[in-house]
């Protein structure tokens, strides 16, 4: 145990979210527990282009993962994060930039949010609009980080300092496809030939 007078010996290790997280983390009316997080991510009072982000989560056999949970974290339409570390003035809106979704029985997820803006990056270089993703599932002892970029921001993507770190032939795994007006699809393959790029952060 941690002695309050000393520096901890290390962080608390991760353990799998398991198959039964839904009634605690994503009850959504199916269980007698209140949801803590607003759904949709886009709030009535936030500025920006409304988008719908949907996709499916697959294992190494290409089978859908029904007991996965996906979380997203993103900037507002002006590229500002609703967090004290981002000290730029924010719009007077209730947009928080966080979403959580439990996969459905087909491994599907959906978020109604807004297109994030350009975000400051390393060495003053801008980052293309992107959404940070945390992925959890039964069978995953630790969550995985990935990012969602958008296909119609090709020029910004080409200049993005993080995408530049990814081998060119795998960058497409990080880019959501446009699927109609304001709709994007982004599938996640945890393993296999189409394996999504995950980041070591």
């Amino acid at each position: 145990m941690t002695d309050p007078t000393h520096k901890p010996a290390g962080i608390t290790p991760s353990q799998t979210v398991g198959p039964y997280y839904a009634y605690g983390l994503t009850p959504r009316g199916a269980y007698a527990f209140r949801d803590a997080f607003a759904d949709p991510v886009a709030t009535a009072d936030c500025e920006g282009t409304r988008i719908k982000l949907t996709g499916h989560i697959y294992d190494g056999d290409g089978k859908a993962i029904p007991d996965a949970m996906i979380e997203i974290w993103q900037a507002d339409s002006a590229g500002r994060y609703a967090h004290p570390r981002d000290n730029r003035a924010r719009a007077n809106s209730s947009f928080k930039g966080f979403g959580r979704c439990g996969a459905d029985k087909n491994g599907g997820y959906a978020f109604e949010t807004i297109m994030p803006g350009i975000v400051p990056g390393p060495d003053g270089k801008p980052q293309a609009p992107h959404v940070v993703v945390c992925l959890f599932a039964r069978g995953m002892l630790r969550h995985l980080y990935t990012r969602i970029y958008f296909a119609d921001a090709a020029a910004a993507n080409a200049a993005d300092p993080i995408l530049a770190l990814v081998p060119a032939d795998r960058r497409n795994t990080l880019i959501a496809k446009r699927a109609g007006d304001g709709a994007y699809t982004f599938d996640i393959h945890i393993q296999g030939g189409d394996e999504t790029v995950f980041f070591d952060v």
């Binding site: 520096k7 991760s14 039964y20 605690g24 975000v119 995950f198």
Partner: protein, 236 residues
């Protein structure tokens, strides 16, 4: 407060691929993870404090018409960063099986009874000292299909955000001296014995309330260290 997040701290976590826990087989990346610098996108994260929690959500024994069956317990502890500084106003979410080892989740078919007075989910926010507190019942052990005669040790699932998306953690809290530790691949997926011990709560007679409930202490240490001028901000 400005924090840095050394990658080396992640050595406490299990590997993504851990054969003894069979389900990791098709659910771990096989290609190398891409090392990237921590940008504003990673160094920020969801901010949920008191506004996210209702007063009664810390007490899992008071969410229904009557009290649930089982051994009433108090679980409290502090949320700290790697320098040992308390993390105030941090959301702590928990979920657990009932005292018979049955989850209310629709997929759980373990032939042990559900308890109409127990959902098994709770939320709390840490106070100025980084402290949280739950009242619940001790969850039961339960069988699972990983290997013949496989049983999970008693545990409570914990989920925390902390100061950024890099401090995000989902873990499980175990109880001291559980005879199932030696046989549980999830517990043993954490490579270092001392790190495994950090997932085990401690019985505390001072937390124990006379004639009412046993008390346990469980501190949680999140990623994040103070950034001092002598340290590189992109410490790996």
């Amino acid at each position: 407060m400005s924090l840095i997040y050394p990658r080396s701290s992640n050595a406490a976590h299990p590997a993504y691929d851990f054969a003894d826990y069979r389900s990791t087989g098709k659910r771990h990346p096989q290609k190398p993870l891409i090392i990237m610098p921590h940008t504003l996108s990673e160094l920020t994260g969801p901010v949920y404090g008191h506004d996210a929690v209702r007063d009664n959500e810390f007490d899992l024994t008071m969410q229904h018409k009557a009290e649930p069956l089982g051994e009433r317990i108090i679980v409290t502890g502090r949320v700290l960063d790697e320098d040992g500084r308390p993390q105030p106003n941090t959301l702590v979410e928990i979920w657990q099986a009932n005292s018979a080892g049955r989850y209310i989740h629709v997929v759980d078919q373990h032939p042990a009874p559900l308890d109409p007075n127990f959902t098994g989910a709770g939320r709390a926010v840490t106070n100025a000292d980084g402290r949280y507190r739950f009242v619940t019942i001790k969850p039961g052990a339960y069988p699972w299909g990983n290997h013949p005669n496989a049983w999970r040790p008693n545990h409570i699932h914990f989920s925390l955000f902390g100061p950024s998306f890099l401090s995000r953690i989902v873990t499980q809290m175990y109880f001291p001296g559980d005879p199932l530790f030696a046989f549980d691949p999830i517990f043993n997926s954490v490579p270092d014995a001392k790190a495994r011990d950090r997932m085990v709560c401690r019985f505390d007679l001072d937390v124990t309330k006379p004639d009412w409930a046993l008390g346990y202490q469980f501190d949680i240490v999140l990623r994040g260290r103070n950034a001092t001028p002598t340290e590189e901000p992109h410490d790996d």
